[in-house]
Symmetry: C2
Subunit: 490 residues, 2 copies
């Protein structure tokens, strides 16, 4: 077998009438512990009523298979998983009690080890949303999430970092900011994620330009040499419970402030950051939709970060339209190259990257208040950031050229007028249907900007795909009900 | 395939690199809709990274297979399931809003159709526990649960019913009460459940004595002829969302009053009951552990039942030790036969059955207040109840003799003294390890009673099993740490 699912992907399948299930009373959905050759793993049991596996046999997901280190035909011992003591704390939280640091540590350790089923995970997430985490609890959860994973440390007193709360297509400022910071002598060991529900994560985009799959030793080597890196965080296991919890929040489509704060800060604290700028785009289809919500988030982020000695600055930004032209790994990579090389057409991305880099300069005390933006601009315009970016790519394994999609199609304006609004969510979906992020060259290049005057028949955006089927598919969805670009009569 | 799991068992498996998953962005744990030959089904998608199924193929659980009516090689269309509108209500409930009748109806309909994943189910259950259901909400949930399933109606103004909140081994009063009620001319069309986590459900026990797998037509026929039946409820689909919700509550080990009330009452209202007695054993290892908790439950049960015109009486009972001698289907069936035939040794079971039957007589206005118990006793002692029970068994398909376990072993007192306490939960586990309820003859026959003086070496209970392995297994657990029978020095 090789099943993956759920909060974890630790799954076993046994026949419902298997004598082991019968005598042990192992029902479907039970958490069971498997033991083989001195190793053990807790998995979710699914009953099968089909032909496989045979009674007395067990099928394992690949993760469980690897964790146990077994091969076909090996003996595996199966028993009820010991009751999870930390679930008592989850129940107390459901009934309104506040949880201690120790309780969060126990819960998060079990989550990181994939001992919680989806039912348990969802109960924890829901309970912490129904009665929102207070500040002490948010600190407790953050600390627990940091401690359960790897923790990096760096020589020198200042380690800068950047996070974007996201929800906006494009907006791929990270590689630019790292280049500026490292070019100006600051340390910025950046780990980023791959896309989960978006058309590209920073790691997907950066991978178009250089290898990103670095282990801790490689990250240390690159940072020692160049002062910065742009690596995929997946090999590093910073705050491993975070990915599990985020998966559940996504399935529920809920975003509680306390959990968002713990999620963002735990990864940064574990990465050894001392100064952090947080990009919060505010807009009708961004993750944060009102300035009031943004202020609540800012207050929670800065107060909790302070408890860990992490200096944090939240910087609001525009969130009504994509930043940069490209959506999808290669198209976003082209935007980054254009900014670093001073080419025209990506001024919005260059400006936002310099604002955030400037904020970091000021936060770290490297630039006087108000002087950060100019310092970042200078780094970019002098070519120092571009030179640094190329050196970082070399250190990560060699620079690459972004691929170009074989199949492209323009979507044109059905009428003349002014661009009144852009549906960022639909844009992101179109880019995914075109194949992003798995098809690196796929995505959408956006030409029209908010407020721009458009003539009927001129291109609003261009779809890029690596197969004609995906191009058709994305185009059909783009043209289905609800225009991506709303055009107001001139 | 033939997987079963979770809130439902609607599951599909596709390769993670299947082009359909890729272009549609169908992640593991996604809810997807399958369409084939004009039928459709919503299933939880699991990604496989193993050899099967092939990319472009899909594996289905048996339920999904049956729902779609497909055969191997058929074309199946796969798409993201439409977002569940009722999840918006769940999110509102998480954030503290009270839900309307319409919201509960939408949620419960989706649950009954297995459209909720475990994550969604757990969020709903947790949210309704974190901020407990108020009375209006409990009524709303109950009504929604009734309406989503079958609803039975019966000629005549009085239809009596009985429920036990459970948690006590043995206590198999239902077949006795039905026999008494029907013998005295009342209508009691009883549907019961099979064991889920206990060593026997009423349906498992009754099945030892007569067929219980009756459809609605058969139930009507038996009740028309004899006034009562003792059938398995599984074929009837009364309050089908209840089983799904209970499964989640069990995984979380939480029991919220509002949900318990909706669970109990929805099945009874759907079954057409007009007068209901609820047996609430109160004891340290019973489901209700204090008189205070029992009073809260009683207030909620009677007030919500009244809103549906269902007259309800809660009757507290002893909950410190098993009622009857047997634990397990056949052993409990023998107790029932002993009570009905007036044999000695099961006075506690006879008394509790008559108390509850007497309560029903009084509630239904058939006996004056205080005269119910005597009326029930008379029905039992006259042999009328026994005659009626035999006729009901005949009507259900013919009476059977309980099987006797081939392998038995006494557990004896390690010291002399008085029985100070009995661990009911461990007793139940021992009965299950011995093979109950799947092995009908398996279980535990309890000989020692609370307060009884015991001589070292005399039997406390006898384990019954259908295989020597299960007997050994149950005995080993029974003798492991934590005695089932605590013996105080004389």
């Amino acid at each position: 077998m090789g099943l993956t699912a759920a909060g974890g992907d630790m799954i076993a399948v046994m026949r419902h009438d298997c004598p082991v299930c019968r005598s042990e009373g192992l029902g479907s959905r039970a958490q069971v512990v498997l033991r083989a050759g001195g190793r053990e793993a807790v998995v979710s049991l699914l009953h099968s009523s089909g032909d496989t596996p045979d009674p007395g046999e067990i099928g394992l997901s690949e993760t469980a298979w690897a964790r146990l280190g077994v091969k076909a035909g090996d003996r595996v011992e199966v028993a009820h998983a010991p009751p999870l003591a930390s679930l008592r704390a989850v129940r107390r939280r459901i009934y309104g009690e506040r949880l201690s640091q120790a309780a969060f540590s126990a819960i998060v350790a079990d989550i990181a080890e994939h001992r919680y089923s989806d039912v348990h995970l969802s109960a924890f997430v829901t309970a912490c949303s129904a009665a929102p985490l207070d500040q002490a609890e948010t600190i407790g959860l953050t600390k627990a999430m940091v401690e359960v994973g790897e923790q990096l440390s760096w020589p020198g007193p200042i380690v800068v970092d950047k996070h974007s709360v996201g929800g906006l297509p494009g907006n791929r400022t990270t590689p630019i900011i790292v280049s500026i910071m490292a070019a100006e002598g600051l340390v910025m060991p950046k780990t980023s994620s791959r896309a989960i529900t978006s058309p590209a994560g920073t790691a997907d985009t950066m991978e178009v330009l250089a290898p990103v799959d670095l282990d801790i030793a490689a990250i240390r080597r690159v940072v020692a040499r160049e002062g910065g890196c742009i690596a995929w965080g997946g090999a590093v296991r910073l705050s491993p419970a975070d990915d599990v919890i985020i998966g559940v929040e996504r399935a529920l489509d809920i975003d509680a402030v306390g959990q968002l704060v713990a999620s963002v800060l735990s990864k940064k604290i574990a990465a050894g950051a001392t100064h952090l700028v947080i990009d919060v785009p505010v807009g009708p289809t961004a993750k944060v939709r009102s300035l009031e919500a943004a202020r609540d988030l800012e207050a929670a982020l800065t107060s909790v970060a302070a408890a860990f000695g992490l200096r944090t600055r939240v910087m609001y930004g525009p969130g009504a339209e994509p930043i940069g032209r490209g959506i999808g790994p290669a198209l976003e990579a082209l935007d980054i190259l254009a900014v670093l090389q001073g080419e025209p057409g990506v001024e919005d991305l260059a400006h936002r990257a310099c604002e955030l880099a400037g904020g970091l300069f000021e936060l770290a005390g490297v630039a006087a208040p108000g002087a950060g933006l100019a310092r970042a601009r200078q780094s970019l315009e002098s070519g120092r950031a571009w030179a640094k970016f190329k050196r970082i790519c070399q250190a990560q394994g060699g620079m690459r050229s972004p691929p170009v999609a074989r199949f492209q199609r323009d979507l044109t304006a059905p009428s003349s007028g002014r661009i009144a609004s852009i549906d960022n969510r639909k844009l992101a979906t179109v880019a995914k249907l075109a194949g992003a992020p798995m098809a690196k060259a796929a995505g959408v290049a956006v030409h029209a900007r908010l407020g721009q005057l458009i003539v009927a028949g001129s291109p609003l955006c261009t779809l890029h795909a690596e197969s004609p089927g995906e191009l058709d598919y994305a185009a059909a969805f783009a043209l289905s009900d609800g225009a991506i670009f709303a055009i107001a009569a001139p």
